[in-house]
Symmetry: none
Subunit: 137 residues, 4 copies
Amino acid sequence: MINIQIVTGDSRPIFKQIVDGLRMEIAQGNLPTGTKLPSVRGLAMQLTINANTVAKAYAELTSQGLLEARQGLGLFVSEPRQLLSEEEQEKRLTGAVDAFANEIAYLEFSDQEILERVEAALTKLGKGAPENGTKRG
Amino acid sequence: MINIQIVTGDSRPIFKQIVDGLRMEIAQGNLPTGTKLPSVRGLAMQLTINANTVAKAYAELTSQGLLEARQGLGLFVSEPRQLLSEEEQEKRLTGAVDAFANEIAYLEFSDQEILERVEAALTKLGKGAPENGTKRG
Amino acid sequence: MINIQIVTGDSRPIFKQIVDGLRMEIAQGNLPTGTKLPSVRGLAMQLTINANTVAKAYAELTSQGLLEARQGLGLFVSEPRQLLSEEEQEKRLTGAVDAFANEIAYLEFSDQEILERVEAALTKLGKGAPENGTKRG
Amino acid sequence: MINIQIVTGDSRPIFKQIVDGLRMEIAQGNLPTGTKLPSVRGLAMQLTINANTVAKAYAELTSQGLLEARQGLGLFVSEPRQLLSEEEQEKRLTGAVDAFANEIAYLEFSDQEILERVEAALTKLGKGAPENGTKRG
DNA sequence: GTGGTCTAGACCACT
DNA sequence: GTGGTCTAGACCACA
């Protein structure tokens, strides 16, 4: 059973919430390579949303290389691989950092406080563990 | 003369870039309390964008209390005051950190690399001065 | 006016025909960087198909980095850039070559004939011109 | 024993992989005219796939004239004969070349690199023997 | 007017 | 039953 929460008050569209939620689950190792995902219609029923919305989220993750479809069988978590060129990764990191900085610029938190929060969030993703050097679980 | 950069490649809509840009200018003291802002049409011409877009940004900032209208005279930078409760600020920081972490979870950067980038971005914003504005420690 | 033909007898889905058609037009330099594309609804009317189908094709090209949306203004041909890692490019080339070879394996053409056809098709795309080294027009 | 590889990561559906694989084996002479094919269930077990999928592949090849059923005895490789007109072959080659060129147009490989890959793939298929089967010079 | 999102419902190919 | 495609029609944010 996939554990995803759809929040109607969220600024993100529904399909994005699913994409983010599943990406997080995969990053944290809760959905290891080869795991079968719930069917489009099944997850749609579970979340009480339209099947097309789930299909859109799955399609997004498939194009990102995190999932792969086996015809008539369903969708599965695929072998992790890096789709993006270094240049593109650099660009996305810079964009994300800038957006984040802008988002919190007007809040009254110290740099140290913010950095600690970010570090905690990154650690939760299981990234950067020096003892094995892998990015996922 | 207001110094704001509009970037078409940015993921933020233009009005949001103006809001963020002006908020930054005010936070950094480049636009002290009482400064008159350029007219909607004037700023629109300067940035070569639609006047409605500037108006929307001004409306947003006014409703947030950073600007105030003086009938027939234009918009002015208002007296600084804290509009967001601690609870609200906490919520926004948590949301921003989570969104940021998710955004970069799949990129091949180490925690250290990411933290350095974030720190650099925060420093660039002129935040973190220990003499004021911190909520903890 | 974009010149795309939708063939109902084609094995490719409609949105894929649009993606391929536009990618070809861009690759051949008929749609230089910065060109505004016809609106989703406009192209849908022109091709007498559903607007969602056009939107899906545009979304695909946007995620591939060939187009970029400017909110409220429309879609534009973006600066060419390489989104994919070398590893991923290698994988896709190998896949395409294998699929192509399988597709024509049972036809009675000589290797030389086939290679000439492929070379002609590549030349038509304006690739590999040694005098400037760029991939696009 | 039929020697076919089913690749789950392949873009082609499984039944197509079987069709292509068997056509290849027949073209290369590994399955001469009159050879009895394994039963639907036997091949399905060997490849660990659904029997319906094998049946569909066999039906496809039978309708194409490469296999023929002998009542109660099973399926056999049939007498080779040319089923496709020159016009049809020409059409398929052109289609395949166009699709291939489009597929790789956006990758950063030189024409020469691509042609070498194609040539290698064709050579591997054992095609291009000059003593027969060429349509032109 | 522009693209983006979502719903509802249908049909198809594949297993 | 599975995902993929397409249609029709609605609503929203942005310029």
